[in-house]
């Protein structure tokens, strides 16, 4: 059979063409056989577990292709997601609570608490106040309160009101005279904002004074306000009394009670003296607070001072009594203190007249008026801010004597700012300088002793 016939025969068997006339019979026979064989072959489907083995191998290969990092990333992804979500929630949730649930009163209380928390450590008393650390009672105080001395409350309020209203006084050449005037102004502004928001107290008095403005905010500012008030400008213009005195004057008004601050109530008179350009009333330094008593705006105070000169106001009694926060035994008793002297010493134009001589009564009513959410978070006291000029001076000092002078000045500033530890460290570091002269060392040692 030729190749052509043979190929045509095969194509005919598979139905692709017709076979040659002579080969049709054979083509038909082979086609029938082939079709029958193909049918039988199609039924031959050997059972096999090969598919499962191939899929398993493919799975193993795919897994091996993944890097270990990718494998671990996939495994840890859910855990990491949960940790992230929980962390974010724990961070944000307390703030939500504060924003959503706090009432104005709660916010006011929280702000006050934060102010107290960030209040700088009490400074050591200076001058005569420091020397007299025992609570003292004014000679003219009522016998019933002689055992429970207290700082003068209302006069301090008047003092604060007066001093905050008249901040501009000349600067002296004291070491801290270079304190940044802007810093003082900023503090004063911030504190006044505090007073306006948190301490709005409405008074009902025939005199119509604004003593209550300060009463309400008493203690919130604490030493911070006192510090601002006791800036060099104030001291310089007046009697030049110490910061401690001023601080005590304000602290006596504090929410924490009359004795809450360190230096008691003797300071107010000095400040008043400086503010009014009149002789300071002779108020014996009570010094060192912690005698309890006034309890801020919530404690009834009966003021009567027979020795102090009266002008247009009598003793003040604050109604709306609340629980006091005494810090010493007997402090919860009504406190008699000198109010009239302060009122008398206040400038005539000052709207601090707080009491009527006849009725001798002032009714104070505290109202919290500020929206809580809009109140800015209280800033920490700027301990270092006031010493920046000295720090800059120290940075600029190139010679050893200049560095010693600048360091001593900075240490003094820090000490006054309530950070004696920093001042001590500064001086001790300076002592390590081997280029110091004997005189410089003596000066530094002297300064260290003063700390």
């Amino acid at each position: 059979m030729s190749d052509d016939r043979e190929q045509r025969l095969v194509e005919a068997i598979y139905g692709e063409c017709h076979a040659s006339p002579g080969d049709e019979a054979e083509a038909a026979r082979l086609r029938a056989f082939r079709e029958g064989l193909a049918g039988r072959l199609a039924e031959v489907q050997p059972s096999s577990g090969l598919r499962a083995r191939l899929v398993a191998e493919a799975r193993a290969r795919a897994k091996a292709r993944r890097s270990p990092w990718a494998v671990w990333a996939v495994r840890l992804a859910p855990v990491a997601t949960v940790v992230l979500v929980v962390g974010v929630w724990l961070t944000v949730q307390p703030r939500f609570d504060q924003i959503e649930t706090a009432t104005p009163e709660q916010t006011a209380a929280r702000v006050a608490e934060e102010w107290r928390a960030v209040k700088p450590p009490d400074r050591a008393p200076e001058g005569p106040v420091a020397a007299d650390s025992k609570p003292q009672v004014a000679p003219a105080l009522a016998p019933a309160t002689a055992e429970a001395p207290a700082p003068a409350a209302a006069p301090k309020a008047a003092e604060v009101a007066a001093t905050t209203a008249q901040p501009d006084v000349a600067t002296t050449a004291r070491p801290d005279a270079a304190m940044n005037r802007q810093t003082v102004a900023a503090r004063r502004e911030r504190l006044q904002k505090e007073l306006a928001i948190l301490g709005a107290v409405k008074t009902t008095t025939r005199g119509g004074g604004k003593l209550s403005d300060v009463l309400g905010s008493g203690g919130l500012g604490g030493d911070e306000l006192a510090k601002a008030l006791s800036s060099p400008e104030l001291d310089a213009a007046g009697s030049g009394e110490s910061q401690g005195a001023v601080s005590g004057g304000f602290g006596g008004m504090g929410r924490r009670g009359g004795g809450g601050s360190t230096e008691g109530g003797s300071g107010y008179g000095r400040i008043l003296g400086s503010k009014s350009a009149a002789p300071a009333p002779e108020v014996p330094p009570k010094a060192k607070g912690d005698v309890g008593g006034l309890g801020g705006e919530d404690v009834p105070v009966t003021a009567a001072h027979e020795e102090a000169p009266r002008r247009d106001a009598g003793p003040v009694e604050l109604e709306e009594a609340g629980p006091a926060e005494p810090r010493a035994a007997g402090a919860a008793q009504p406190i008699v203190t000198d109010v009239t002297s302060v009122v008398a010493a206040a400038p005539a134009a000052e709207p601090v007249v707080a009491a009527d001589a006849d009725e001798e009564q002032v009714v104070a009513e505290k109202k919290v008026a500020a929206p809580a959410a809009s109140f800015p978070a209280p800033a920490k006291p700027d301990l270092e801010g006031s010493c920046r000029p000295f720090e800059r001076a120290l940075t600029r000092a190139t010679t050893t004597p200049a560095r010693v002078d600048a360091t001593l000045a900075l240490a003094e500033c820090r000490k006054r700012a309530g950070a004696p530890g920093l001042a001590r460290r500064l001086l001790e570091d300076l002592l390590d300088d081997t280029t110091l002269s004997a005189g410089d060392r003596d000066r530094i040692t002297e300064a260290l002793r003063g700390l």
């Binding site: 190749d3 043979e6 190929q7 025969l9 095969v10 194509e11 068997i13 598979y14 026979r29 082979l30 029938a32 056989f33 082939r34 079709e35 029958g36 064989l37 193909a38 049918g39 039988r40 072959l41 039924e43 031959v44 489907q45 050997p46 059972s47 096999s48 090969l50 598919r51 083995r53 191939l54 899929v55 398993a56 191998e57 493919a58 799975r59 290969r61 795919a62 292709r65 993944r66």
Partner: protein
């Protein structure tokens, strides 16, 4: 739970069944192991029958086919491009079978007689007479194919088992189409002489 998973698996396999060979290989490269299963469903049974009839042993045919798939996966993993997966597997199976035949391992294991049953039909559902007939046919077919020359057997199986065209068989085996047709004619004539009573 288990039926639900089974339904998902069936649906997944049905979806893969519609994919082209190239798409299945791409899926395997992306980590889908089931794509290889789908590729086996499409070509595996034909290739297994081809290799089994060619070698005369189902078990060895499985080994050869598994090795062919493993080589396919290796090529894909290494980034190689495979245009025609079926042709790749066929050539690989053929070369592996030839290698084994040359090493004298052509029929070392169980013969076709041992496993003549269709894969998709459980043994207990089959007519015992059919079972016997199939066994006999498989044995006779295996014997007849074994007696064919290798090139005729190969041409016959490529045509009947895998359905390749003359031209494709010529390309796979490296001969002309007329040679393929001649080999087919001789193979059919010899098989008819031996299996005429079955077919």
């Amino acid at each position: 739970m288990k039926p639900f998973l089974m339904i998902l698996v069936v649906l997944f396999r049905r979806r893969l069944r519609k994919e082209s060979d190239e798409e299945l290989l791409r899926r395997f490269r992306d980590g889908e192991a089931e794509a290889i299963g789908a590729l086996y469903d499409r070509h595996g049974q034909f290739l297994l029958r081809y290799v089994g009839l060619y070698m005369g042993s189902w078990s060895h045919a499985e080994d050869v086919l598994q090795e062919a798939f493993a080589r396919l996966m290796s090529v894909v993993e290494q980034g190689g491009e495979i245009q025609n997966a079926r042709a790749f597997l066929t050539v690989t199976c053929r070369n592996l079978a030839i290698d084994q035949a040359r090493r004298g391992k052509r029929f070392p294991g169980p013969s076709l007689d041992d496993d003549p049953l269709p894969a998709d039909q459980p043994r207990e559902e089959r007519n015992p007479l059919d079972d016997v007939t199939d066994r006999e046919f498989a044995r006779r077919l295996g014997s007849a194919l074994e007696r064919l020359p290798e090139e005729q057997r190969e041409a016959f199986l490529l045509k009947e088992s895998l359905g390749y065209k003359f031209r494709e068989i010529a390309e796979l085996t490296g001969v002309t189409e007329s040679t393929v047709k001649s080999r087919l004619r001789y193979a059919l004539t010899k098989l008819q002489a031996e299996l005429g009573d079955f077919a």
